[in-house]
Amino acid sequence: MAQRLRLEDVSYSYPLPGREDAPALQGAGLSVESGEVFCIAGANGSGKSTLAQVCAGLLVPASGQILYGEEAVVGRGALRGFRRKVGLLFQSPEDQLFADTVAKDIAFGPRNHGLKGEELKAAVVGAAGLVGLSLDELGARSPFSLSGGEKRRAALAGVLALEPEVLVLDEPFIGLDFEGRERLKSALVSYREERGASIIIVTHELSDVWPLATRFALLSKGRLLGVKDKSDLISGDTDLAALGMKLPQWGELARELLRLGIPVADQSDPLAIAGALASHREATGDR
């Protein structure tokens, strides 16, 4: 896969009046590929929201550089162009819904980007479809009358209507129940498949992204400790507890299978795991 977004030695400090600036991010480097689901993981206060906003071009690094494709994002024109390619879903985005109807709320972004008439309508309908919201049913309603999960997806539709090539989501699963999380995940998968977009999910809860993400950038105290594959996390080469996180139970299970030397072709398939466990028990029971 081709490199889509690259951060090189990026640092950022929030200005604090009368004090030395507190570095929220120090020397972070990572590369996200086209069509990849990439996770930025860290405990509360690790700097992951800062990193998300740098990835979305909202915060401009104090040092280091961002490359989009092969081009360095330098200067105001380049930054403006970069921001159009990247969409950011803030934490608790439902707090930012404001229009008097769901359809108008979703249309806000693309309208600002100059879309009009049929083109605008198509963008809104397409985005609502991707997140599984029926405009016939909900389009004319106030966004404030929606359930928590529907609000979150309406906010996501507003971002998707801009057709970003990179989608950054800051703690998108907080406060959603199982069904809400599953619906949001399937919206993300549809968008990635349809547009080949890269998706960056920021979270402190690895279990929420476990089936989706392929690589995990681990952050602690504003420093990037490394980018890990799922297999690295399963084999236990990182002390997640020291980073304020926990391997999800599916990962614990995979780790246990590894330890017991039980091979499973697809560790995301419960039936395959069960089959392997059953065979192992039969084999060892015969001794």
């Binding site: 206060g45 139970q249 795991i273 089959g275 059953a278």
Partner: protein, 278 residues
Amino acid sequence: MRGNEGRLRIQVEGLSFTYPGASGEALRGVDLEFEQGRFYALLGRNGSGKSTLARCMNALLTPTGGRVLSCGIDTAEGSTRRDIHKLLAMVFQDPDTQMVATTVEEEVAFGPENLGLEPPEIRRRVDDALRLVGIAHLAGRQPLRLSQGQKQLVAIAGALGMNPAFLLSDESTSMLDYSARHRVLELFRDLRSMGMGVIHVTHFLEEAAEADAVVVLDEGRVVASGPPAKTLGDPERVRSLGLEPLAATVVAGELGRLGHPVPGGALDVKELVTWLNA
């Protein structure tokens, strides 16, 4: 250790609740009993009525049908609301919305001060609560400068300063990272061992698996209650209640289908390994 007889209870009897102007009932005929010295997890999809139930128990909401006796006091009697708030302290999801004072110590003293206690008693309660929660070292700090997890511990200490019989946690762990959540859960278990009743509303089944008893609500009704293994052990049932079954539970379910049942099911990987080696 007091016997069961001396334990205070929350008795929920045929409880219904309809929000003003709402078309449907948020709670429909709920019957439950909670007692001190036990740790309960309250689960259910969004909108199932969990928070409404918690709010009915500590008299923030008055039943529109049935009744709630919290430690023997009928929550419908407006004049006793203060007594109930003393006995059932509540902690909410977002600690930022719960901080009112400029130091941690003052924050924890806020509740006891409102009870009109004498200064030495307030001092004693604040010290005890801070020590119990393990944040005595933060006493002089500004609450809003603390981490999310620390803030939530301050909120819990504030609740404990009321010296309650029950602690009601309305998703108090949902915004916390794992370390902070782990610390809060540990604290809940300690409080239970000390004889307090803890009722924890959560989305995390791994947290619920550690409770003494689980109550699941759906569409305002109690649809499951009992020990975790019984209420959360069947993956299909768990999914039908809008909850995500645990990995070990899902695999144990598949093993059953393959003709290798795991007796009693499994809620964690350890239980699967035990079965494997049995």
